[in-house]
């Protein structure tokens, strides 16, 4: 007879819920996972476009701390972790033609403000203003400062709006003025250490493994989900599909220690809508990869409504092989445009600088996601354990690392005792 007391209930089958459930189950705990939809993965999804199974959400992960590459290795995908092509990205400024993005810094912060690429984007005056950063002493700043305010103070408005804003937007879907400095892991510490923003950016860049900020997986990031689901099955996690937990009150009825890994339970989902348009193109002009791996769009540019374009078949060698001569281009939008296929085709034409007649579009897909805003302190219920994007930050690496830390705390002997005492008091351990 099997003992079937559930020790942990995880709500939400996205990446955070999956890695949490997996770690707990591998530690020998009995785990139940509750998922509102009929499939796992959340925003790490896939869709079939032009006959190719493509990531419909995240298509790369940050290499910081190797969290995701290590996970891929554990899941047997280690041989399939790939780096994007060395081709850098381009920048679409507010006016004029696209320019190669200076690629020596992080988040668009120029590591060497007076190099040619940086001057080309900022103009000489803007670049000289950015160079002032090396002369301004670092005296420490208030901790609630935004990245935007910091960049503006040290490097000027041109650097902020022309370089940092487009890059930050591409990563966080936020303007740097809305990005708290502490969400940029390590920047504040390095700033204190090196004294200038450029030097901090340089040292962050140097700390990245093999010089690339992101990596992907041959066949798509979504393969992580297939493998995680298999592991959950292997380790006997019970999965309830199509079961929705509506509110925080409903948590009390669940067995064992409850871990919330889905937005919308502790507080209504607030967030930004991101729309992704994927074009599969028959366009031999794109063979030359005119914009490298893609184009970031400066805020305020009215020539296109897309915020960023990824030339996916130029960025990922494996995808080029899969696509057999076709090109895959992905554009992201901050809103929900009408006539998306036409808008996306037009934007791709402008950003890539080639003509893309309607008949070059072999297939198209639209995918919409809500990126949940961080949970406010007031929305945290005491004693409820939360993982995922509302608390773990943006990006797979941050979310997974946060989930691991949470599991480690739960499994630490002291936390264990405290936890079961809590649970006894709440009468949750039957």
């Amino acid at each position: 007879m099997r003992v079937s007391t559930t020790e942990f209930t995880v709500i939400g089958g996205g990446i955070a819920g999956l890695v949490t459930a997996r770690r707990l189950a591998m530690a020998g705990r009995t785990v139940r996972l509750i998922e509102a939809s009929n499939h796992l993965g959340g925003t790490v999804a896939s869709h079939l476009v032009g006959g190719i199974n493509l990531d419909a959400g995240a298509e790369s992960f940050a290499t910081r701390n190797n969290t995701i590459a290590d996970l891929a290795r554990e899941l047997g995908l280690g041989d399939d972790v790939v780096s994007p092509s060395a081709e850098g990205a381009w920048l679409q400024p507010v006016h004029g033609a696209a320019l190669p993005l200076p690629n020596t810094g992080v988040l668009g912060i120029p590591a060497t403000p007076l190099d040619g690429h940086t001057i080309a984007v900022l103009g000489l005056a803007g670049a000289l203003r950015a160079q002032l950063d090396s002369l301004i002493p670092w005296l420490g700043h208030r901790t609630d400062i935004s990245l935007g305010a910091l960049v503006r103070r040290r490097m000027g408005k041109a650097t902020l709006e022309k370089l940092v804003a487009p890059v930050v937007h591409g990563v966080y879907s936020l303007h740097p003025n809305d990005l708290p400095l502490e969400r940029v892991a390590g920047l504040k510490e390095r700033l204190a250490l090196h004294g200038s923003l450029a030097a901090a950016a340089r040292s962050m860049r140097d700390a990245m493994p093999a010089g690339t900020a992101v990596q992907g997986i041959r066949g798509g990031i979504n393969r992580l989900i297939t493998e995680l689901a298999a592991d959950l099955t292997t380790y006997g996690v019970i999965i309830d599909f199509e079961r929705r937990i509506e509110s925080a009150e409903a948590l009390a009825d669940l067995d064992g220690t409850v871990i919330v890994a889905a937005p919308g339970i502790l507080a209504p989902v607030r967030g930004r809508t991101v729309t992704l348009a994927t074009l599969v193109l028959d366009a031999p002009e794109l063979d030359a990869e005119p914009r490298g791996s893609g184009v970031l769009v400066a805020p305020g540019c009215t020539a296109v409504s897309a915020r960023a374009l990824t030339h996916a078949t130029a960025k990922w060698q494996w995808l080029k092989e899969y696509a057999e001569g076709r090109h895959i281009v992905r554009l992201s939008y901050n809103d929900e445009p009408d006539h998306l296929v036409e808008v996306a085709r037009h934007d791709a034409e402008v950003l890539l600088g080639v003509s893309l007649p309607q008949e070059s579009v072999a297939d198209f897909a639209r995918q919409q996601w809500i990126r949940p805003a961080p949970l406010a302190a007031a929305e945290r219920t005491d004693g409820v354990i939360v993982v995922g994007e509302t608390v773990g930050g943006t990006g797979l690496a941050g979310i997974v690392a946060h989930a691991y830390a949470t599991v480690d705390r739960l499994l630490a002997p002291a936390a264990d005792e405290a936890e079961s005492e809590d649970a006894r008091e709440n009468g949750r351990h039957d």
């Binding site: 047997g76 297939t226 493998e227 689901a229 298999a230 099955t233 292997t234 380790y235 006997g236």
Partner: protein, 352 residues
């Protein structure tokens, strides 16, 4: 859960038998010996008994299964009986349509290849085990102080049969499913682990003093695949025996690469095939693990002096391990001369 007090291991019948002592890492006065597939087709008395009886039906007829299990003990004086059954029996008991096609092996009417196929698999109803319980109980009553070894096919080997629909050369369909749909694979292997585990448990509860989990086809896997996609399920099968203190033997053909990983799923004793000598197996396992094996079945037809030298070499190399039970490196073939097996038993016992 623990064994009943009238179990042969607890009531004094088998706990001190040479083979149980060897399985527990001891060196009894005589080295124990038995043969995989000793019960069955190589014996004329078996062939006579089986006449007119379908193989799987024989497995599920207590009188027949018990008699076939006992025949080699009487004839060869081996140190243990191995329960006469087939690795597909648990699947059959769970309602899966299967028959043994002479000359080919088990054939499944509907191979299991998709998530939907797997979802249709059901657990075994406890009543379905009645003929197994009865056959084991009858056999154990006859055996007295000779232990009965229970057995089951490991999840990977069983699943391979189910996916392939029958025996296959390199289990390619099964290994493809392992890559293409790992979740369905894991669900299938968990089902196999549970039915194999129940099958072993029933045999132990009815009086078996040891169990052997056969992963016959494990040699088609890389170590990485084995550790990731197979080992957790084999572990799950052994975990069905939690609380029962019986020696657990794990055996695979072509297992050299995965010997250590196979041991780590919860086995007490490792069966070794003929491909690596026992002292090398001991080295790969890091020492301290009782071993079983590993006479090359290909030498069973060789002149006696050749076979004799080989058996002595096996015994000599087996001294590297804390305990050694002599066996073949794979099952007895249908054309084996039974007298050769009897002579091996005599030799092993006389060598001590």
């Amino acid at each position: 859960m623990t064994l009943n007090s009238d179990h042969p291991l607890l009531d004094g019948r088998t706990a001190n038998s040479p083979i149980i002592r060897a399985y527990r890492g001891d060196r009894p006065e005589t080295t124990p010996v038995w043969f995989m597939r000793q019960a069955g087709r190589s014996l004329p008395e078996y062939r006579k008994l089986r006449e007119g009886n379908e193989m799987l039906e024989a497995c599920l007829t207590p009188d027949l299964a018990s008699e076939i299990t006992l025949q080699p003990v009487r004839r060869h004086k081996v140190d243990a009986a191995i329960f006469f059954s087939d690795i597909v029996i648990p699947a059959k008991l769970a309602g899966v349509e299967v028959e043994i096609v002479p000359g080919r092996g088990p054939v499944f009417a509907n191979p299991i290849r998709t998530a939907a196929d797997v979802a249709k698999l059901r657990p075994i109803e406890p009543e379905a085990f009645a003929p197994i319980r009865e056959a084991v109980a009858q056999t154990v009553a006859e055996l007295g102080t000779t232990p009965l070894i229970g057995f089951a096919g490991a999840p990977f080997t069983l699943a391979s049969y189910l996916v392939e629909g029958g025996p296959s050369k390199d289990q390619q369909r099964a290994r493809t499913l392992m890559y293409s749909d790992p979740q369905t694979w894991a669900t299938l292997l968990n089902w196999c682990a549970d039915i194999a585990g129940e099958f072993m448990k029933v045999q132990v509860e009815a009086g078996a003093s040891a169990v052997q989990l056969f992963d016959s086809w494990v040699g088609s896997l890389s170590e990485q695949q084995y550790v990731r996609r197979v080992a957790p399920h084999s572990k799950r099968a052994f975990q069905s025996l939690r609380g029962y203190d019986v020696p657990k033997i794990h055996f695979g053909v072509g297992s050299g690469e995965v010997l250590k990983a196979m041991h780590s799923v919860g086995a007490d004793v490792m069966g070794v095939d003929w491909r690596i000598p026992l002292d090398e197996a001991d080295r790969r396992l890091g020492g301290g693990i009782p071993l079983q094996g590993n006479i090359d079945p290909a030498l069973l037809g060789a002149p006696w002096h050749v076979l004799e030298a080989h058996v002595r070499d096996v015994m000599e190399r087996g001294r590297a391990a804390p305990g050694h039970v002599v066996n073949l490196g794979h099952g007895v073939g249908p054309d084996t001369d039974p007298d050769v097996l009897t002579k091996i038993v005599e030799l092993v016992h006389q060598e001590g």
